[in-house]
């Protein structure tokens, strides 16, 4: 998955978000070892200090932890990942609801539109 960045926010916070997604989606597996800061910075095309700052914040949040000499690892705490996943989902849903309401849909209309779309998808 390619790294994309917007202009108006610090890059490190965008890195935090994108790494969060990689973790909760399973792209970076539970307990797996992270590449080095330099390699990650290279992949994302960003400054290593910026990547370091992002990883430090993820460590504070507990999604990532470092073992003294062996590097950084994704957390093995499935529960935490589940919670983060649900939190991100809630944010996405809130944003979706917000944008639908701005188009004039009521909450039950939103439900109908949603069910329609889902059933069309599974066909």
């Amino acid at each position: 998955m390619a790294w994309t960045f917007k202009d108006d926010r610090p890059i490190y916070s965008q890195l935090v978000e994108q790494i969060k997604i990689k973790i909760i989606s399973g792209e970076w597996e539970l307990g797996s070892r992270l590449s080095s800061v330099r390699e990650l910075a290279e992949q994302a095309g960003v400054n290593p200090n910026t990547m370091q700052r992002a990883l430090a914040e993820l460590e504070r949040d507990g999604l990532v932890h470092s073992k003294r000499t062996s590097g950084r690892f994704v957390t093995e705490d499935e529960n935490m990942i589940k919670n983060v996943r649900e939190a991100v989902a809630a944010e996405n849903i809130a944003a979706f609801m917000e944008s639908m309401k701005r188009l004039g849909f009521t909450e039950s209309e939103i439900m109908d539109e949603f069910k329609k779309a889902v059933s069309q998808q599974t066909v």
Binding site: F5, D7, D8, R9, P10, I11, Y12, R38, A41, E42, A44, G45, V46, N47, P48, N49, T50, R53
Partner: protein, 233 residues
């Protein structure tokens, strides 16, 4: 090691009556990638030339890792000018040998590895290389050194986007917490993701020196966007 890799105090330079640099005060920490950003004629290249000893300041003091400008500072500065500066008659391996000879911190293996990856043959004469390849050779020579201060003057100016990515990638992978890289450019949006700090310079004066993150948070815009605001014509 000194705390700052570069310290400029009260640096001024005049060309005839024209003041090209006015009372420049600057301190660069180690382990940072810093953008020296400003319009043409703002004094960027003059400042870089003074730091690497190609020009002498009229006033002020400059210390590179605590050293005055001279042989000792040249040993720890790796400079990439915005033009080709290599002797045409030399072969690629000759210039690699020359850098190996003069710079203790030069890594021949690193240079040869990068040349191979870019499909540049060591036995080719520099005269026969395309302009793009000549520039890549120069970049490889500069980045194969373990210097304390890298001064890159318009490193991505005349190259294609793929080469641009390669150059920025090389800068990232070369990162060293004891060294700092100064990238002087006007192509800000291309280099922004790679920068720690940005210095805005205009009419010989430093207008801004902040971290990229701070600029984005404070002004809700990229450095490129903020630059356009500050330097609106």
């Amino acid at each position: 090691m000194t705390e700052f890799v570069l310290e400029c105090t009260g640096v001024s330079k005049k060309y005839g009556k024209k003041e090209v640099l006015k009372n420049i005060n600057l301190q660069l920490e180690r382990g940072k990638i810093i953008g020296l950003l400003g319009p043409n004629g703002s004094g960027k290249t003059t400042l870089i030339k003074i730091i690497n000893g190609l020009l002498t300041a009229d006033e002020g003091d400059i210390k590179v890792s605590g050293e005055q400008i001279g042989i000792e500072s040249k040993k720890i500065i790796s400079y990439l000018p915005d033009r080709t500066y290599l002797a045409d008659w030399m072969k690629v391996k000759d210039i690699v040998g020359m850098f190996d000879d003069f710079y203790k911190d030069f890594s021949r293996e690193k240079a040869e590895d990068m040349l191979k990856r870019l499909n540049i043959n060591e036995d080719d004469r520099l005269k026969t290389l395309s302009k793009g390849n000549k520039e890549k050779v120069q970049l490889i020579l500069v980045m194969s050194r373990q210097a304390q201060l890298y001064l890159l003057d318009e490193p991505i100016g005349g190259v294609d986007p793929a080469a641009r990515d390669y150059i920025l990638n090389t800068i990232i992978t070369n990162y060293n917490p004891d060294a700092s890289v100064v990238i002087s450019t006007h192509l800000i949006s291309d280099v922004e993701k790679v920068l720690d700090e940005a210095i805005f310079i205009n009419n010989g004066e430093i207008v801004l020196h902040e971290s990229v993150d701070d600029i984005r948070e404070k002004y809700s815009t990229s450095v490129d966007g903020y630059f356009r605001e500050v330097f609106k014509c």
